[in-house]
């Protein structure tokens, strides 16, 4: 047993050492990020693959959606060609890590600005408004959060919906999935009474999927969605902010809305409920 103890101790030491190394590497100093991007000739942007109409992959395998539309414009203005952007597909829960580990330059995966996230990444000015919503089957519609007591609520890991319900309604049982597609499939399979997510997503989804209604259309505070850069990457952050201001002058975010979101929402929502132009809430 003595030998076993020694092996155990050695393993523990290795794990802790690895952990400490990982902790250190995050504090590495940033090289000029804009220079690097220009040198590489492309900007790496983290987007969703399964959150239509914001970020998704279409039948041809191309990235599409509201976030993607704006990201392409960024690439065009930064590098002169809207195709000089490499889209990296991310999950909700891994968005911060992708930035921290330098796998992407910019996150445009419908990233809601929250205080917890602000500690880990730097948010640029917002381009979209969002609140939470709850969608449920028409037969047993949830119109108030109190109806969820004792029932299972489906959420996506790493989303604001998860944090909100964990904090404010600890007695509602959460069923947590990694991907939007999985979460919505679980709702369709009746594994939970309802699904909570960004209301902007739910409106679009409920329109596509008959038999489901967004019973609770706005919950919690009104939040904003913004591009995010690695903590301390001030150069890229300033560039994005200036870019958003410039785009605001030509009402570009509205153009992105008309191209990507309007078909999904129809006339049920007006553009100004969702869009923030010029990086500032009017």
């Amino acid at each position: 047993m003595k030998k076993t103890g020694r092996i155990l101790a050695a393993m523990l030491a290795v794990v802790l050492a690895l952990g400490t190394f990982a902790g250190c590497s995050q504090q590495g100093t940033q090289k000029s990020s804009l220079e690097t991007i220009k040198q590489n000739g492309k900007i790496k942007v983290g987007v969703f693959s399964d959150k239509p109409p914001f970020g998704y992959v279409d039948a041809q395998g191309k990235n599409q959606g509201f976030d993607v539309y704006i990201a392409k414009r960024f690439a065009k203005d930064l590098l002169g060609d809207e195709n000089k952007v490499e889209f990296v597909l991310v999950e909700a829960a891994s968005r911060v890590e992708y930035l921290q580990s330098g796998k992407v330059d910019l996150i445009m995966a419908n990233f809601t600005v929250t205080d917890e996230r602000k500690e880990k990444v730097d948010f640029a000015n917002p381009y979209m408004k969002v609140a939470l919503g709850v969608v449920s089957p028409d037969g047993s519609q949830i119109t108030d959060v109190s109806q969820l007591k004792g029932k299972k609520l489906i959420v996506n890991k790493g989303t604001t919906a998860e944090t909100y319900f964990t904090k404010n309604y600890p007695d509602i049982e959460l069923l947590k999935y990694d991907q939007n597609t999985e979460a919505f499939q679980a709702l369709k399979d009746g594994r939970g009474a309802a699904l909570a997510h960004d209301n902007t997503l739910l409106f679009a989804w409920a329109r596509e999927n008959s038999g489901y209604t967004v019973g609770v259309s706005s919950l919690g505070e009104q939040d904003t969605i913004a591009p995010a850069v690695k903590k301390g990457d001030k150069e890229l952050l300033d560039w994005v902010n200036n870019e958003l201001t410039a785009l605001g002058k030509e009402n570009f975010i509205h153009e992105a809305y008309d191209a990507t979101l309007k078909p999904a929402y129809g006339d049920s929502i007006s553009a100004d409920d969702v869009v923030i132009e010029g990086g500032k809430i009017q």
Binding site: L12, V15, L16, S94, K176, Y177, D178, E182, R191
Partner: protein, 219 residues
């Protein structure tokens, strides 16, 4: 490293470790059973059954376990069969583990020399006695290391069940990362807890191996 965060998340990991262990125990036990029966079907060349088992083994070993789990959890609902996540997890891992265990058992059974069986018959052992005193002890002795490896493999493979919303160790780590972005702490704890679960099992199985393989190790 934020040690406050680590201490705070310990209860979550502890609960998750229990789920991981529960699923593992069920999956390993059922895999052993399925594998044993399958290996007998092959060893004794049971007609029809043998072919079915062979198809099952190839099918199970050559498809990813995550896909098998997804099929049980999301696929079967399309034909109106809604299984609970826990059941899907155990069934999926058994489906995977059964084939590996079957091959491990088979390797042992087939390693028993023909002369052994003929010698046994010539001293007048009955078929049952032959199995009990000649074939099985030698077969298990050969199979044991492979069975152990499979058991540990299955325990680690439980990390896929987080994909069907079961709060196992992997799930908790990813969840904490997603909510609090304490990647380093969450992942370190994850590795530690898997080690904590797997090392005792590994040692226990080694001890068991010595016992079962007294032919090789001596008493």
């Amino acid at each position: 490293m934020n040690f406050g965060f680590i201490v705070q998340s310990l209860p979550l990991y502890w609960k998750a470790a229990q789920l991981t262990l529960t699923i593992s125990v069920w999956a390993i036990a059922l895999s052993l059973l399925v594998g044993f029966l399958c290996s007998l079907a092959i060893y004794y060349r049971v007609r029809v059954l043998k072919s079915i088992v062979k198809v099952y083994i190839e099918f199970s070993r050559n498809t990813p376990s995550l896909i098998q789990l997804f099929f049980l959890y999301y696929g079967l609902t399309q034909i109106g069969l809604k299984l609970e996540a826990e059941l899907c997890a155990v069934a999926g891992l058994t489906f995977l583990g059964g084939s590996y265990m079957a091959e491990a058992f088979r390797s042992g059974l087939e390693a028993v020399g023909k002369t052994q069986i003929e010698s046994g018959l010539s001293i007048g052992l009955s078929r049952a006695q032959l199995v009990r005193y000649v074939i099985f002890p030698q077969a298990f002795s050969v199979s044991m290391p492979a069975l152990e490896a499979n058991a540990i493999f299955l325990m680690k493979e439980t990390s896929i069940v987080s994909a069907v919303a079961l709060p196992d160790l992997m799930f908790v780590a990813k969840d904490l990362i997603g909510m609090y972005y304490s990647t380093t702490e969450a992942l370190t704890l994850l590795v530690l807890f898997y080690l904590l679960l797997l090392l005792p099992v590994s040692l226990l199985l080694s001890a068991l191996e010595r016992k079962v393989r007294y032919g090789q190790f001596g008493n």
